[in-house]
Amino acid sequence: MSKYAFWPGCVARGAAPELYTSTLAVAEHLGMDLVELEAAACTGAGIISDGEPYLQDVLNARTMAMSEQMDLPLMDICSTCVGVHRLAAEKFRDVDYRIRINHHLAPEGLEYRGTADPRHLLWIMLEDVGIDRINSLVKKPLEELSLGPFYGCYIIRPERTLDFDEHPTRRNSLEQLIEILGATTVTYDGMTKCCGFPILTMNKKNSLTMAGTHLDEAQSKGADALVTPCPLCHLNLDAQQPDAAKVIDRNLNLPILHVPQLLGLAMGIEPEKLGLTRHVVDTNRLLNKIGA
């Protein structure tokens, strides 16, 4: 059985609880053993580092050191978490910096040795579980669905930290997953752009114009739903969707799925268990379409 050090991130344990429950449901279905890092801290999401870059680095070194100590690969379920973890890992290639940071980890018996390779569930599905195994578990191919990918910045940028050359599947991981599960990909300009969430409290108009524009584009290209590996994007695209519709003055009604929810639906897991009843944008029409 494959075993992972599992960092759920803050939002999956807060405003997007359906991401957490659907991850556990899918992991159980796949026989993945997830050991949750309950003592770990928030990655800082680039916000702690706005004023305290060193502090954010220490917190992330600590999380990665925990996974090293457990001798388990580190799994994130949030584009922001995986991006921030990998940016931190890049900085710690500098041995002197790592030594400095490790002073703060020593009191709890941790040391970051620089070996962590933080990965998102989406990548782990394609790289560890593999296309054949996913295929064999699909009970309900999602042939009726046209789905738009929405990546969330840090799982695709900056490319230098994401090992795209070594793992070319990471470049279009969402499209691949959508196709494996039998659905059709709707491509659109906004799919690799920013959802606007990071500036929601700073500049609501700009933030929701971004979300609204991408939603409107995907909807008008015929997407039944979007699927995202980032719960922060989910917040702006789902929970803020009614406000985003007002800001861009368009009718929007586009359900947003988390990656494990999509997997779970194809594997025949009940929608309730995947938290699909806990969205702001109603998912019923979508579920009816696939007879779930």
């Binding site: 803050c10 939002v11 344990r13 807060g14 405003a15 997007a16 609880p17 309950e38 003592a39 770990a40 801290a41 928030c42 800082g44 999401a45 680039g46 916000i47 702690i48 580092s49 706005d50 004023g51 305290e52 870059p53 060193y54 502090l55 220490v58 917190l59 600590r62 703060h104 009191p107 709890e108 910045c153 840090y154 940028r157 900056p158 490319e159 300009d189 690799t192 752009k193 920013c194 606007g196 990071p198 500036i199 409290t201 700073m202 500049n203 609501k204 700009n206 933030s207 114009t209 971004m210 524009t213 929970a239 803020q240 009614p242 406000d243 806990r278 969205h279 702001v280």
Partner: protein
């Protein structure tokens, strides 16, 4: 010799027509996208318009969108471009008005440098040097990346904020401003930091999307420069803005529970002080959160937010210890640099 199809986004200003046109070009190994555009212009359609000059990634004239991403067409080989999308789609830069075909009006982009006053303002009390204002290599090394900008506009073209807000200073002008904030020959560090943190469209409007870092052909790392400007602005005390309050509120939430505090963050971003002093704008901003909160309540998400999941007790203890240690180290560092400053002044005085 292989054939490659290019689909070019064209615009004719005389008829105000936008259309896509396909061209097939014979390509040699190593041929660039710009070589191919020249081949089209010389051999197939002389009306195709684009900017170019040096062909060596120095002049910055030929930045355009290749398969949706902005880059220098002279630095992009056809093979590499086709791997990302075949046929290769070529279009003008984004976020600027198109003049004709692949030529955009760059004035909006260039105006931002003027707005950010990105030129050296030397210390007035120092006599001008005989030849030039010299800089130490060690110091220059800290920000040399930001000085390599060739003003090609690729970052601005892909910027997700510039796409929705004309007023945003944009990655290149902000990176150039950073370069002068960092330069000890410049006398206006504080003023610059204040302007950049308080100006509408300044450092706090960046979404941190990394588009500019990805697009830049010269590794200027504009977004990293913007993030460093934020840190310097906070350290310099320019904290009366949503961005710094958001940072402070977020960080204090993580200190308390090891995780983001979604309950408190909106209040902290708006500013508890502003709310308590009856700031009307602040109260209006809080009201703006109400419909969103009601939606979360209806979707039963408010419940999990209210439970305020955190790190376990052991974890919280260690996280608090780390916060204390880092704070102490920073204080120590401040005292060190003050002492160093005093020593430096004494040394100067003695000299």
């Amino acid at each position: 010799m292989a054939q490659q199809e290019f689909i070019i986004q064209r615009y004719n200003p005389d008829t105000d027509e936008s259309y896509e046109e396909s061209f097939n070009v014979d390509v040699q190994p190593g041929q660039t996208v710009l070589d191919s555009l020249n081949a089209i212009k010389w051999e197939q359609d002389g009306t195709l318009s684009f900017r170019m000059s040096c062909r060596h990634a120095i002049c910055g004239s030929c930045a355009m969108k290749v398969n949706g991403q902005s880059m220098l067409s002279c630095q992009t080989q056809v093979d590499a471009a086709a791997e990302r999308g075949d046929p290769i789609r070529v279009g003008p830069q984004g976020n600027q008005n198109v003049v004709k075909d692949l030529v955009v009006d760059v004035s909006k982009f260039l105006d931002q440098f003027e707005r950010a006053e990105t030129w050296l303002e030397p210390h007035e009390d120092q006599a001008p040097p005989e030849k030039e204002y010299r800089q130490q290599v060690e110091e220059f090394d800290h920000w040399s990346h930001a000085s390599t900008c060739i003003h090609c506009g690729a970052c601005y073209s892909d910027c997700t904020v510039a796409a929705v807000d004309e007023n945003f200073l944009g990655p290149a002008a902000l990176a150039k401003a950073y370069r002068f904030v960092m330069d000890s020959r410049d006398s206006r560090r504080e003023e610059r930091l204040q302007f950049l943190s308080e100006e509408q469209g300044g450092i706090w409007d960046c979404t941190r999307c990394y588009m500019c870092v990805q697009a830049c052909p010269k590794d200027v790392l504009p977004m990293d420069a913007i993030m460093e400007l934020r840190t310097m602005a906070i350290e310099a005390g320019f904290t009366n803005n949503h961005g710094s309050r958001h940072h402070k509120g977020f960080t204090s939430g993580v200190r308390k529970r090891g995780r983001l505090d979604e309950m408190m963050l909106p209040v902290q971003s708006v500013g508890i002080g502003r709310l308590l002093t009856g700031n009307i704008g602040a109260h209006k901003e809080m009201m703006d959160y109400t419909p969103g909160a009601i939606r979360l309540l209806k979707s039963r998400k408010l419940l999990t937010i209210a439970q305020r999941h955190g790190a376990n007790a052991e974890g919280r203890e260690q996280i608090e210890r780390i916060f204390e240690e880092v704070e102490a180290e920073k204080h120590h560092h401040d005292v060190d640099s003050e002492a160093f400053g005093a020593e430096f002044e004494t040394a100067l005085g003695g000299h």
